[in-house]
């Protein structure tokens, strides 16, 4: 059994087990299953350790060097090959660790399931929860587009039920909105899936029916021959013949140029997940209605799939699309930053504020990717990881206070730090990390993205104004977070909250790892994130730039 398969399907196995154990033991089984997944995923670390000296042996010399690869034929036919193809590189690896960690912590956050308002069907809850984890992990490791799509869709149904059954008052509306939005994105992806396969096949046929693979070699060192269309995401990105055909002017899809239109189809699918304005409206609803652990998963992992999709599919496979739409994408990114921050400022619902802050933060990811500079890509990736730690923490902090107060009205709170000092301390770390205070994780990602955007000024004249506007977003972020802290945690102690117990041992246990990571990522960005991601990101960007330069 190889490591990645084990990591992906361990949660699902635990989920099945949950269906058969006595009711009182279900949560124990679920926590153990997610803990086991976390521990097994940590075994991936040795592969990526070694620092800058070993970068070449870990990440290769061009995009496409993979670790822990497994490929088995799944559905094959004449000129048709769908594979069970898993592998990780600097893109997938950090997100796997993030997923297993956030899943474990949010599984712990579900420990008090019995005290929830809707506490029926504990077996179903943990089964769906763990099935969701399998789906998320599958997305980050599958490198066959078909398989990727399957895992992408597998997440939908569990998430729908988790929000719809165990959610708040408007749960049905929120759940169906989430489902419809995401499916709308994925059907566009499905069109791209079919089109990429046939256009790739046409490219190979035009080149004589057999071309050397862009990255795969046989045991003797000769490149593998590719004789038909492929779903292999790395092959699509690295094969010169396919790349030339995809970006050629004469390659049309329904009368439109192939690369930009396919890029757009994929982009919309991922932008819905990210979410960026104007596809973001499902997110506040889903977050507000979802139970706390599910909000943590949503913010911590699901949103990252959008960014991962850009970096794995859109840019490597359709670099020309990235160039073509750069201005639009950067604009959408900046609008998301500013609009999300302004919306967050206007909220009086604690959870909705954090939800809109996610929209704003993910705008940096989109901006960083859109400008296509090394710092931009690195910053976007860092921002995803950082947000993946700070925003589940914020959602959990909201959950802790909601469990006690049973409301989330910001204006009705006040002076909580005096009542609950431990909780107040944790909350300050979490929200300051989200704010982007230097020394905490949010800062590095934002600054890197801004630097990357300034860098892009040499190729795009619009990059400077974009960077300035995005930098203004930082001020807005500081505005709404500081205002939030003042209204909720500072001020005089209020009578109605005087009796609240401070954070329990379990809550502290969940908050501390995230608080430590917030600080660690802020202080040691190289050692905690960049060393694992930059190798792949730089090679990826080099490939993208080469293709663009060759075409222009």
């Amino acid at each position: 059994m190889d490591l990645l398969t084990l990591i992906v399907f361990l949660p699902a196995l635990g989920g099945l087990l949950c269906l058969f154990v006595p009711r009182a033991q279900v949560r124990v089984v679920a926590v153990l299953a997610s803990l086991a997944t976390l521990l097994v995923s940590l075994l991936l670390f040795p592969t990526f350790l070694g620092g800058a000296e070993a970068a070449e042996s870990i990440f290769g010399t061009s995009y496409g060097k993979l670790q822990h690869v497994i490929r088995l034929p799944w559905i094959t036919g004449e000129g048709f090959e769908i594979e069970y193809f898993l592998g990780i590189d600097g893109l997938g690896f950090p997100l796997i660790i993030l997923t297993t960690l956030v899943s474990f912590l949010s599984c712990l956050a579900s420990w008090n399931f019995d005290t929830w308002k809707i506490n029926k069907g504990i077996r179903g809850y943990f089964f769906l929860f763990l099935l969701l984890e399998t789906g998320m992990l599958g997305v980050f490791v599958s490198l066959d587009f078909f398989l990727f799509y399957i895992f992408w869709e597998v997440m939908l149904l569990p998430m729908y039920f988790l929000i719809g059954v165990w959610g708040g008052p408007r749960k049905e509306y929120a759940a169906i909105k989430f489902f419809l939005f995401t499916l709308a994105g994925s059907v566009l992806m499905l069109v791209a899936l079919v089109a990429m396969y046939f256009y790739g096949g046409a490219a190979i046929e035009a080149a004589g029916g057999s071309v050397p693979s862009g990255y795969r070699v046989t045991d003797s060192g000769a490149p593998v021959a590719i004789t038909h269309g492929t779903f292999d995401l790395i092959e699509l990105a690295t094969n010169d013949v396919i790349q030339k055909y995809f970006s050629a002017k004469a390659t049309l899809f329904l009368g439109m140029r192939f690369a930009p239109i396919m890029f757009m189809f994929l982009f919309i699918g991922f932008a819905i997940k990210l979410p960026s304005v104007p596809f973001h409206t499902w997110l506040p609803d889903a977050h507000v209605e979802a139970p706390t652990p599910i909000s943590m998963i949503l913010a911590g992992v699901l949103l990252k799939m959008g960014g991962y999709g850009f970096l794995r599919l859109c840019y490597p496979i359709f670099p020309l699309g990235g160039e073509y739409w750069a201005f639009l994408l950067a604009t959408v990114g900046v609008v998301s930053i500013l609009y999300g921050a302004l919306c967050a400022m206007a909220q009086t619902d604690f959870k909705k504020l954090v939800a809109y802050s996610s929209v704003s933060h993910m705008g940096y990811v989109l901006l960083g990717i859109a400008v296509m500079t090394p710092a931009g890509f690195q910053g976007a990736m860092f921002q995803m990881i950082a947000h993946g730690i700070s925003s589940p923490m914020c959602f959990f902090l909201v959950g802790v206070i909601y469990d006690r107060a049973h409301h989330r009205e910001i204006n009705r709170f006040g002076g909580l730090w005096l009542t609950m000092p431990k909780y107040g301390t944790m909350a300050t770390i979490g929200f300051f990390a989200s704010l982007g205070l230097p020394g905490l994780c949010g800062f590095i990602g934002e600054v890197w993205v801004l630097l990357g955007t300034f860098d892009a000024g040499s190729k795009y004249t619009w990059a400077y104004p974009m960077a300035i506007l995005a930098a203004a977003g930082v001020i807005l972020t500081a505005g709404y977070i500081l205002w939030l802290i003042r209204r909720v945690y500072l001020g005089n102690e209020r009578e109605e909250y005087r009796g609240f117990p401070d954070a329990s041992g379990r809550e502290i246990f969940i908050l501390v790892p995230m608080a430590i990571l917030c600080i660690a990522l802020g202080v040691l960005p190289m050692q905690t994130v960049f060393n694992f991601t930059n190798g792949t990101l730089d090679l990826l960007l080099a490939g993208v730039t080469d293709t663009i330069n060759a075409m222009i």
Binding site: G77, I150, E153, G164, V191, V194, Y197, L254
Partner: protein
């Protein structure tokens, strides 16, 4: 009259072989006769009838398997002395369809035994009609003779009208049957009129001759073109009625709502599948006859017409399902939409034009098999809920997750499979259709791909309406009492949907074999008329 001149019309024909090739249909007829005789010997109770039917279905299934094994090396066209264009065809496709039909019939029989057997007083009549329509459908996929096509469609339709209104005291059923019959008779008359025009024009009832005529004359030459177009259009209208393609779909929701659930399930899959395979056969015969250079110019408009009808059928079916309160009616509209998806595959093989092009037919067969499980499951659960609560309204499903989890979970699987969501087999069915469409690499193909995925999105909402009722709605009613056998049946269907997703490969391979070995009809004036056995036509 030409064969009268010959001394021995059966010369060169192995009668034994031919009888064997058509033995599944003969077994079906024998079963019907046995069902007629049974009451005289053992009384009218459901038990003896059920035994006879079960044995008959198993024997037919066995014979169809045997035939499929034999004809996989070549197709047989026969039971018509002295002509290459035989009346009946036995090839892997027809044998394969008979196998599918028998599996499905077994499922319907199981459902009937669970729900209706105890109260059914007219079991012999019910089964004669059901088996009769099965025979008609088996015939529909085994012929390329215009006359026999009409006979087959009528054989399938007439018993269907009767079983839709089988319960005399049920007003809704009677109304449904009448509507169904009026629509059916009109479209049959239109079809017959079209066929008479075509016969007058071509002078032959063989579709291959007709295709040959079209290929040589084309639509644009001669004053006969109007006659030809009208004739063909009327002919296809008859098929479109069976498939319930827009605008011939109005009978479908009424008939499905009024009929018993077993009957609705039967019609929703079997009659559409037979119609689509007949369409496939006819279309591919045309493609084979049309010479390559003329190919696109002539067939492209036809493909566009079929494609647009398919896309419209899909969209109208899905949008009409939105407002339905009766689950049976909702599923009826969903079956219209699914007929649309399957017709998209039909557009593929017309457009592709080459007889060796099997992707479309393979996709169609895979879809039919998967669709059979989805509908058997969804209708089966509806039946169990209706038998318990007496209502098929959405309210009857309220809180099903708590009242009967073993019905709610397979229902969710079946519905999500109908949407086409992985990891359920419905996605695989849609996937092969998308692949076949994408493989065309043409505007039509990509237009239909987009239409298909857009419809997936549209359909999600109304399928979710049932899910919402089952999972989210509060309901204090008691648990659903359902027979264990019924629960087993629907859960088997759900399991099949999961397994057919994981093991998509074998399903596709066998469907490919069926479509590859399909009999290619040849026009009588170009072929060697002494040989009734046609060599392997697969490529």
């Amino acid at each position: 009259m030409s064969f009268l001149a010959q001394t021995d019309p059966w010369a060169g024909i192995d009668v034994g072989e031919q009888l064997f090739a058509f033995s599944p249909m003969i077994a079906l007829i024998c079963t019907m006769l046995a069902v007629v005789t049974c009451p005289l010997l053992f009384g009218r109770g459901p038990r003896p009838i059920a035994i006879v039917v079960a044995v008959g279905v198993i024997v037919t299934f066995y014979l169809a398997m045997r035939v499929a094994g034999v004809v996989s090396t070549g197709a047989i066209s026969g039971l018509s002395p002295g002509g290459a264009g035989g009346m009946l065809i036995a090839d892997p496709l027809s044998a394969g369809f008979q196998i599918i039909l028998m599996v499905f019939l077994a499922g319907i029989f199981w459902l009937w035994w669970m729900g209706s057997a105890a109260t059914e007083r007219n079991a012999p009549e019910f089964f004669i009609l059901l088996l009769g329509s099965a025979l008609g459908m088996a015939l529909m996929v085994s012929t390329l003779n215009l006359l026999l096509i009409v006979v087959a469609i009528e054989t399938a339709s007439l018993p269907s009208y009767a079983i839709v209104g089988f319960d005399k005291r049920d007003k809704a059923g009677a109304e449904a049957a009448l509507k169904y019959m009026v629509f059916g008779s009109v479209s049959a008359a239109v079809m017959l009129y079209g066929i008479s025009l075509l016969y007058g024009l071509v002078g032959s009832l063989n579709v291959a001759d007709l295709a040959q005529y079209v290929a040589t004359m084309g639509f644009h030459t001669g004053e006969s073109s109007v006659l030809l177009s009208v004739g063909l259009l009327a002919f296809f209208a008859g098929i479109a009625f069976k498939v319930s393609a827009v605008p011939f779909h109005f009978w479908c929701p009424d008939a499905f709502e009024g009929a018993k659930v077993e009957v609705t399930t039967w019609l929703s899959v079997a009659s559409k599948a037979a119609g689509l395979i007949l369409l496939a056969r006819v279309a591919l015969t045309f493609c084979a006859a049309v010479e390559a250079p003329l190919n696109m110019q002539f067939l492209e408009p036809v493909a566009w017409v079929i494609g647009i009808v398919a896309a419209v059928t899909c969209t109208i079916g899905n949008f009409s399902a939105y407002k339905q309160e009766s689950v049976k009616r909702l599923l009826a509209y969903s079956s219209i939409a699914h007929a649309g998806y399957m017709m998209m595959a039909a557009a593929v093989f017309v457009y592709a034009g080459s007889p060796g092009y099997t992707a479309g037919l393979t996709a169609l067969l895979v879809y039919i098999i998967i669709y059979m499980f989805m509908n058997l499951g969804a209708f089966g659960i509806t039946a169990l809920v209706v038998w318990d609560g007496g209502s098929d309204k959405l309210d009857a499903f309220n809180g099903l997750m708590r009242r009967a989890p073993w019905l709610a979970i397979p229902m969710i699987i079946c519905l999500m499979s109908l949407v086409g969501l992985p990891p359920f087999a419905g996605f695989i069915g849609k996937w092969w259709i998308l692949v076949a469409l994408g493989g065309l690499d043409s505007t039509l193909g990509w237009f239909l791909v987009i239409a298909a995925v857009a419809n997936t999105l549209i359909s999600l909402y109304f399928y979710l309406r049932i899910v919402v009722r089952m999972v989210f709605a509060e309901d204090q009613r008691a648990a659903v009492r359902a027979p264990v056998g019924g629960i087993a049946l629907v859960n088997l269907c759900a399991l099949a949907l999961l397994l057919l997703f994981v093991f998509a490969q074998p399903l596709k391979t066998s469907a490919e074999q069926l479509s590859r070995g399909m009999y290619q009809a040849v026009a009588s004036n170009t072929s060697d008329s002494s040989s009734a056995r046609v060599a392997d036509s697969g490529s």
